[in-house]
């Protein structure tokens, strides 16, 4: 099981072109990132393509990791999430119908094999729990499904400006809870 320090070391070595470090990082994190890609894209073949692209980005950007202030798993998950969301939006723009998502309201932490800050983990779940369920669901949809304001407005059947005000208030509440 790779610790946070292990992952940072691997990324640091990758920045110097160490392929063995890349292999180690892939071994330690690919299952989590594949899980995230699969959840967002809900298509195995596309998730496999996405995972490849993600690790190509990770390899090429390893040198910039140090400066972004993120923990290694957050950096990796954010790259994987953003890439999957980009693909999802491209798919939506192409007119294909998006499958109804799996139960995204269920954010119960599963058995996590990767190094993460335990207190942070509990905190976001607790803070999301303080939001009105529909609003925390909207935040989740934006993050895990890439829903736009227009899509959220349609989903919750409220005007665009209302959904934006709604979500911004939820984000502010979330921020206040997280910084408590």
């Amino acid at each position: 099981m790779a610790t946070l320090a292990d992952l940072e070391k691997m990324i640091g070595r990758m920045a110097l072109g160490d392929r063995a470090a890349f292999t180690s990082l892939y071994g330690s994190t690919s299952a989590k990132l594949f899980g995230v890609s699969l959840r967002i894209l809900n298509d195995r073949a596309e998730a496999e393509d996405a995972l490849q692209e993600v690790f190509v980005k990770v390899w090429h950007n390893a040198g910039r990791y140090q400066s972004n202030g993120l923990s290694p798993m957050t950096w990796l998950i954010t790259i994987a999430r953003n890439h999957a969301i980009d693909r999802l939006r491209a798919r939506k723009a192409g007119g294909a119908q998006m499958d109804e998502a799996a139960d995204i309201a269920d954010a119960t932490p599963g058995p996590e094999a990767l190094a993460m800050a335990g207190s942070d983990r509990a905190r976001i779940v607790a803070c999301m729990g303080e939001l009105d369920p529909a609003r925390s669901d909207a935040v989740r949809r934006a993050y895990l499904m890439g829903d736009s304001y227009a899509e959220l407005a349609a989903r919750y059947d409220v005007p665009l400006n209302t959904i934006r005000t709604w979500l911004r208030r939820s984000l502010l509440k979330l921020r206040e809870c997280l910084s408590r």
């Binding site: 392929r19 180690s24 899980g35 895990l144 979330l174």
Partner: protein, 233 residues
């Protein structure tokens, strides 16, 4: 002076940016501010940390085994070495990576770069260590002479056994390079037909009967290995 309302606006704007909810024009304007304001960047990092936790409920799914090979080939143009490693049951031994400076020190200490035999071309090096660190062998390879200098830092062959050095190149069967001597330092000469495969090749150690593998192939999985890489000097 930033008012609370402005501060709150900035927080939510940063979160909207992290979620990808801004329009392209809004995103571009935000990125302009991000570029010059460290406080924004710190906020953004905080939001990313928080949002990433939303994936905690997503279980890991092991990707198909072929994916890593395709990825490695795409990035490094080195197909199938992984496949061979897997077949040998090898765990990447360089998990922690190795520090080039240490190697420079090692090569220098070994006299490879001093005296009359200073190599003119590049030097390649690697380290082979067991996960527990009870056997550590460092290697430096001089392509000009075909000399592989092995330095046993820790550990030794079990009594009555030999440690055999193998070169594992792309798609080829492991080739024996020789046996580690009882001295801490062993110099081997790599046979001419294996030299081309040394840079980027994998060196591995196996535990063999005294004198080396009787079959000419490794008797078991490597106990330590390392990829031979160029040493930037």
């Amino acid at each position: 002076m930033t008012t609370t309302a402005e501060r709150e606006d900035d927080w939510t704007l940063t979160a909207e940016y992290a979620l990808g909810l801004l329009t392209p024009a809004e995103s571009a304007a935000f990125e302009d501010r991000l570029a010059v304001d460290p406080a924004f960047r710190a906020d953004l990092a905080d939001w990313h940390e928080s949002f990433a936790r939303l994936t905690d409920g997503i279980d890991p799914v092991t990707p198909p085994p072929g994916l890593e090979d395709r990825l490695t080939e795409r990035l490094f143009g080195v197909p199938e070495r992984r496949g061979l490693l897997r077949r040998l049951g090898l765990v990447p031994a360089l998990a922690g990576g190795l520090v080039a400076a240490l190697l420079v020190l090692f090569v220098t200490n070994q006299g490879l770069l001093t005296g009359p035999d200073v190599p003119e071309g590049p030097i390649y090096a690697t380290e082979m260590a067991t996960p527990a660190g009870d056997l550590v062998v460092r290697a430096a390879y001089d392509p000009a002479t075909g000399t592989l200098a092995l330095d046993r830092d820790a550990g030794a062959a079990p009594p009555g056994r030999s440690l055999e050095v193998w070169l594992i190149a792309d798609g080829a069967d492991p080739a024996s390079l020789g046996i580690l001597s009882d001295d801490p330092r062993t110099d081997l000469t790599v046979a001419a037909d294996h030299r081309a495969a040394m840079p980027g090749g994998l060196l591995a150690l196996t535990d063999e009967p005294a004198g080396g593998s009787p079959s000419g192939a490794p008797s078991g999985a490597p106990i330590a290995s390392g990829t031979v890489r160029i040493l930037e000097l």
